[in-house]
């Protein structure tokens, strides 16, 4: 038998793949250099011998079937590297003699006067390695993603839980501190110490609220409560509240309302107030002398009811100013321009992150800039999209009006609260306002007391988180039993949706812990008078 010459010769040796030509009797007729180098069998040794002799073990394999089909039936076949990684015993030419991963193609061809076939062998070792590495990477990424998602959920749950756990003792700390003020009224030094305790307590509470807000926002859990709002009143309230700390630093705050600004708009007042408090509060914090301006205007003014307009609130100060390159970083969580800033000026570094997220939920954003007029200081602009609401002169929120000192003289109050510290505190608050106070330690006890003396209580205060029977269940049971006494819910959860839960359970109003004396007494006084 002779080797093939002519069109095959020379050309096949130049190829970077294995080429073997078999004739109709499956004898080797061509054996190129590639296959010779990698099989360790020379062309001289292979040519003229049956393929199955050259590679013992091939005879009973899928490769033999494919060769058979090509020669007897004229079909082409492929052997994938995945299913037949090493169909032939081939090794690299280097000293390592590593096995070669292969992909094979068998194509029928004319040899002499009969039909033979060409076997092509491709080295796919690199492809196999890459594919395997890719798959491992994919599996690792999946695992990493799953654990990251679990960690994220755990973190959110932890933050919400911690916030709850911290708010409850804060009630006792701030409440008792408040009470002590009267006890030590004649001792200036003690009053001073107490003021420090209370100030730090308030700061800690602000921090907890920020962290809770942020974790809720990350979980997309903030629910907006859109109502018609008297905008000038809301803005004046923000400015008036912050005027006091500003005055303490010798700063003035100016509110400028553009005449084109609509009076009533539809938005979430709680969240808008939170954004503006944050921006104006920051301005107070970072300004040593000069003044702060809050300019409110309507972009593209229109007084058509129901039209959505963009409202802009620009807060300008004469403070330390901003590094123009660092303004975007200010909005990243936990970032202040410099970590020493937090030590010097206080704050969590979450305020701007929260303000921007909230503004985005309200259809706008918050942007920072160095003052455009070139003077020292910073400018933060909050925009929101709001619908213009109809004027409603009958609605008065009453905010800002001087309030009479409320009193609960002779009112009978039942308080269901499981924490002993908080019971003592509430007793002090309520008895201080002249109320007659009874206590229950859980919802069930409260129910029993009410059943025993139904008409006796003027108002019932329910802590929502209690053992045995929660405040929610107690409220539902009381209402189901036809008890119409006003119910005030106390909860450590400070979110608007918690309020809805309390109201749904049958409560008339809601206060979030820590409970302030004035808020508690005012609310109870209002509940008692509206019901009686």
């Amino acid at each position: 038998m002779t080797p093939l010459v002519g069109r095959w010769d020379g050309l096949s040796d130049a190829l970077d793949l294995g080429v073997v030509v078999l004739d109709s009797t499956r004898h080797v007729r061509l054996w190129n250099r590639w296959i010779a180098d990698r099989s360790g069998i020379t062309a001289t040794a292979a040519i003229g011998r049956p393929f199955g002799d050259v590679f013992p073990g091939v005879d009973d394999s899928r490769l033999a079937d494919v060769i058979d089909d090509a020669i007897t039936r004229g079909t082409s076949g492929v052997l994938s590297h995945t299913l037949h990684r090493r169909a032939l015993p081939l090794h690299t030419c280097d000293a390592s003699r590593s096995p070669i991963d292969q992909a094979l193609r068998v194509v029928p061809t004319r040899v002499d006067d009969g039909r033979g076939c060409v076997v092509q062998v491709l080295d796919v070792t690199a492809t196999v390695h890459r594919e395997r590495a890719l798959r491992n990477l994919h599996a690792e990424l999946r695992t990493a993603l799953a654990s990251a998602q679990t960690a994220e959920r755990t973190k959110a749950a932890f933050l919400a839980n911690m916030s709850h756990e911290i708010r409850t003792p804060m009630t006792a700390i701030l409440g008792y501190g408040d009470l002590l003020r009267e006890v030590v009224a004649d001792r200036p030094e003690a009053l001073d110490h107490l003021a420090t305790i209370l100030r730090n307590g308030e700061h800690l509470l602000g921090l907890i609220n920020d962290v809770l807000d942020l974790s809720k926002m990350e979980a997309d859990g903030i629910v907006l409560h859109m109502v018609d709002v008297d905008l000038p009143e809301l803005l004046r309230d923000v400015v008036e509240t912050l005027a006091q700390p500003a005055r303490a630093k010798g700063l003035g705050i100016e509110l400028e309302l553009d005449p084109g600004m609509p009076t009533r708009v539809r938005t979430d007042p709680l969240r808008l107030r939170q954004i503006l408090f944050n921006l104006v509060g920051n301005a107070v914090k970072f300004t040593a002398r000069g003044e702060i301006r809050l300019d409110a205007r309507c972009i593209d003014p229109s007084d058509h009811v129901g039209r959505t307009r963009t409202l802009s609130f620009a807060v300008r100060d004469t403070g330390i100013g901003l590094d123009p390159a660092g303004t975007e970083a200010l909005f990243a969580p936990f970032a202040q321009a410099d970590s020493s800033t937090a030590r010097h000026f206080g704050g969590t570094g979450l305020g701007l992150t929260i303000a921007r997220s909230l503004a985005q939920r309200l259809g706008g954003t918050v942007e920072a800039a160095a003052r455009s007029d070139g003077t020292h200081g910073a400018e933060f602009v909050c925009t929101i999209a709001a619908e213009i609401a109809a004027e409603d002169p009958s609605v008065k929120t009453g905010r800002g009006e001087p309030r009479e000192e409320a009193d609960l003289c002779g009112r009978r109050v039942l308080v269901a609260e499981d924490g002993a510290d908080n019971r003592r505190l509430l007793r002090a608050f309520l008895e201080g306002a002249g109320a007659v106070v009874s206590f229950a330690e859980n919802g069930e006890e409260a129910l029993e007391r009410v059943r025993a003396e139904t008409t006796a209580y003027d108002v019932i205060v329910l802590d929502m988180q209690m053992p045995v029977m929660s405040g929610y269940d107690a409220a539902r049971r009381l209402r189901a039993e036809g008890v119409r006494t006003p119910l005030l819910a106390l909860t450590a959860h400070a979110l608007p949706e918690d309020r809805a839960l309390c109201i749904d359970a049958g409560c008339d109003d809601y206060l979030a812990k820590p409970i302030r004396r004035s808020a508690l007494v005012d609310t109870l006084a209002r509940l008692v008078t509206t019901r009686h």
Partner: protein, 214 residues
């Protein structure tokens, strides 16, 4: 003027269909080839693979696409081989995209679930397609008393209405065979489609009719 080409999509198609008996006989003929293909696949995956062709039909590309759409099949992957003999055509093994991924996973007993076909899946599907198409071509060749030289397989994927219509008229007739795979107690299905000139299809149908008459 020359005679109108038989295969012009715009021309009124000549009605061509199997009788019930012919359909059964055609399925039986294709199944003969499946035994060998199943043996090859079993050897490849080191586990028993069963193959069957329960159903063979002649229908238009349009009807085929309508059926796939009714079954909710949108994306498909397919292996195509060109063949030449007494006539030239294409043989396609078509899988709903999800089924093709599932088939590879089952064949390789692979736990990692990739959402997309990569090189590895392409290779495996091309070889599976190669085995099946060659077996079917063998059956076709036996009936027609001819043999076909087939090219090596190529892989394609995409929306069924695009990849199956490429280079084909919507009214063009195809020979269609449903294929069932049973491997490692999983059942998967695909379909084999032969695009042949109408004359050849008619020739194939007539050959089956002759076999039945014998």
């Amino acid at each position: 003027m020359s005679a109108e080409p038989v295969n012009d999509a715009s021309a009124t198609p000549r009605a061509i269909a199997f009788t019930a008996d012919e359909r059964d006989a055609a399925a039986e003929l294709f199944n003969i080839g499946m035994g060998r293909a199943a043996a090859s696949l079993s050897r490849m995956v080191g586990d028993e693979v069963e193959l069957s062709i329960p159903h063979v039909e002649i229908l238009t590309v349009e009807t085929l696409l309508e059926r796939l759409a009714q079954q909710g099949v949108d994306d498909v992957s397919l292996v195509v081989q060109r063949f030449e003999g007494m006539f030239t055509g294409e043989a396609l093994l078509v899988f709903p995209y999800e089924q093709s991924l599932e088939l590879v996973r089952v064949l390789l007993s692979e736990a990692t679930a990739l959402e997309h076909i990569t090189e590895l899946e392409r290779d495996v599907l091309a070889e599976v397609g190669n085995v099946l198409i060659n077996a079917c071509l063998g059956s076709l060749a036996n009936v027609l008393g001819d043999e076909f030289a087939a090219s090596t397989p190529a892989f394609e994927s995409g929306a069924a209405r695009n990849v199956l219509r490429r280079g084909r008229g919507i009214q063009e007739h195809v020979l269609f065979a449903e294929v069932r795979f049973s491997v490692r107690s999983r059942d998967l299905h695909g379909l084999v489609v032969f695009t042949l000139p109408l004359d050849s299809l008619e020739h194939f149908r007539a050959s089956i009719a002759r076999l039945l008459a014998r």
